[in-house]
Symmetry: none
Subunit: 199 residues, 4 copies
Amino acid sequence: MSRATPMSPVDRRAQLLSAARVVFAERGFHNAGVAHIIREAGVARGTFYNYFDSKRVIFNDVLAGVMVDLVAGVKPIDVQADIPTQAREIVRAIVSAALQPHVARLLFAEAVGVDAEGDAALRDFYATGLSRIEVALGVGNALGIVRDGDMRLAARCLLGMVKENVFMAALLEEPLDPDALVDELYAFMTGGLLRVGAR
Amino acid sequence: MSRATPMSPVDRRAQLLSAARVVFAERGFHNAGVAHIIREAGVARGTFYNYFDSKRVIFNDVLAGVMVDLVAGVKPIDVQADIPTQAREIVRAIVSAALQPHVARLLFAEAVGVDAEGDAALRDFYATGLSRIEVALGVGNALGIVRDGDMRLAARCLLGMVKENVFMAALLEEPLDPDALVDELYAFMTGGLLRVGAR
Amino acid sequence: MSRATPMSPVDRRAQLLSAARVVFAERGFHNAGVAHIIREAGVARGTFYNYFDSKRVIFNDVLAGVMVDLVAGVKPIDVQADIPTQAREIVRAIVSAALQPHVARLLFAEAVGVDAEGDAALRDFYATGLSRIEVALGVGNALGIVRDGDMRLAARCLLGMVKENVFMAALLEEPLDPDALVDELYAFMTGGLLRVGAR
Amino acid sequence: MSRATPMSPVDRRAQLLSAARVVFAERGFHNAGVAHIIREAGVARGTFYNYFDSKRVIFNDVLAGVMVDLVAGVKPIDVQADIPTQAREIVRAIVSAALQPHVARLLFAEAVGVDAEGDAALRDFYATGLSRIEVALGVGNALGIVRDGDMRLAARCLLGMVKENVFMAALLEEPLDPDALVDELYAFMTGGLLRVGAR
DNA sequence: GATGAATGAGGTTTCATTCAT
DNA sequence: CATGAATGAAACCTCATTCAT
């Protein structure tokens, strides 16, 4: 059989990771097989194991990459500048990243329950993100921009609003307009949903 | 091995479903085997297949049960009565049901990607629930209780806030006080999070 | 569950045998299950084992019945009477019996290889039948009615001609006219097929 | 367990087919397991499934091979040359092929009733062979070499004579002298069995 | 005698991983 | 480094048989 073009180890690793991301996104962890990944990468079985110790390991690496992408757009908040605008930007960045094809499904569903170690990684990821939001909310509260309340729960609410919309769009294979979502989220954050005063 | 006391088919079915719910919740669909279920139920392999055609089938049935439990507490809104109170009650009902051990993980993560048919069932479930919420929001909007906006997105935001909190509590194996969550959700719904006017 | 009408043991046995003959004929030994038989008989699982020790045993009994039917029409040859007519009658009797629905398949195919004991029974059956034919041929030879030759092989040829036609009719689910077959067989027996002298 | 020396896929496939032919012939389709085949081949379970999708598939392939072997010796009849000699040769070729160890049992018994698809393949095989014989007889009849009669039935008679002898030899695990059989068949074909005129 | 729930050995198939070439 | 044939543990499922009621 013809032998694949030799390639720098770094590149071959990247190639495999990329193939794996596609495959895992399309089929999920359990329904994807090493066979799918190597076919996508055009590489032999043994080659795969020259670069990754196991399917679990490459999945972890794929996930880590996704997480990095997801967080990449999130800049620390500059207290001096306009807060709401910055919030909009953060949400937009996250939403855009999460809307990459099937990233949502990968992250929100398939990543759960692969194994204990994977769950721990996921926990850490969410914990980090959530605690950053929580801190931001705390700061905002101190500045009088954020109302009082349980900031941990509030942070999860924010995350949940984003995740659910992205997840549902993925599940229904439905396009999602980031601007519309950002608008709605913003409205939600600034005024809630109910007009209780109006009663 | 000693033979299990014969049991009415209805009871045995229920027992198997119950065992399966525990097992699937603990290990997820893919990491659970029929072996785990029958060990949990204290029953032989063949007995399992006397009641369910396959692992997939019993998983579907478990999931259907969970969904029923989840929806059971949701009463239709009485427009005459106090709306906010009713909203509180609905949220509380859902949260309580979702906090049943491991229900969250089952529903929010393990159910995704089992197979095409399963995904369809999940889509239907969420679609039904979301459209109910959407309708309720539409009615509220007509009554002047709910602000204007994209009610589909808003409905998903609401669902997401609940799901994320329940899911995180499950993932972190952390207790979740339904009242605290309901309070927070209620605050969110009535006033959002940011005091933009206050700037 | 309602209990089947009590029945004399003899009748119940007959009922089960009859159901089993139908089922085995339709599906063969390996593709038929005890479940099929008891459903056909309208009887509970346990009842089956009150009358037969195993699936193998009832299959043997069914086969024995078929063999009896098959041999029933074969009368000993009366040397005083017209031999060819008697041969016709014998062939006709066998063909008619074998044409009972699916008997052919049961006897010629499914019966082989069930297990060692079954093969032995089959061997005995054929051995008995064939040696009768062989003896008859030997007698005929002594009387000058049958040509010389290896009468054992000749007997098998005769049997094979009948079996193959019956078997093919069964395999093709094609009707088979016993008279046409008897005519052809008779022509074969009296004159062969080739007109060598005619060359 | 020590690892089998890697082998070219073509060879390994052939080896597995050969092992399967032995096993199926000895035990039949239903009583043979993949376990038997791989033990015979000295290969691991997974290896088997690298080459054949299922037990059914390899059985089909074995059967197809047997059929090819069986037909291999059958040359088209040359009308110019001596017909009876050619007929002798054809019969001898078929008999020799069928006498390969256990081929008879495989083809005449085990192949029946495996499943609908298998039955269809078998039907096709016999149908093809029989129609060739039938055509040959028709030609012979036109040439005045073959007597009148129902050539379809006659063809089956011929086939049946061969099959039965081969089958009985296999069932009784008795040697069969091809020449003696050919002689007997030839005598049968040229002069039948009965001396009716002699009466 | 009849019932049918329960059994579990045994069969088929999958797929992550190994290792000789 | 790359290759791909080989591995075998582990999963799913069937069905003849048993036995408490």
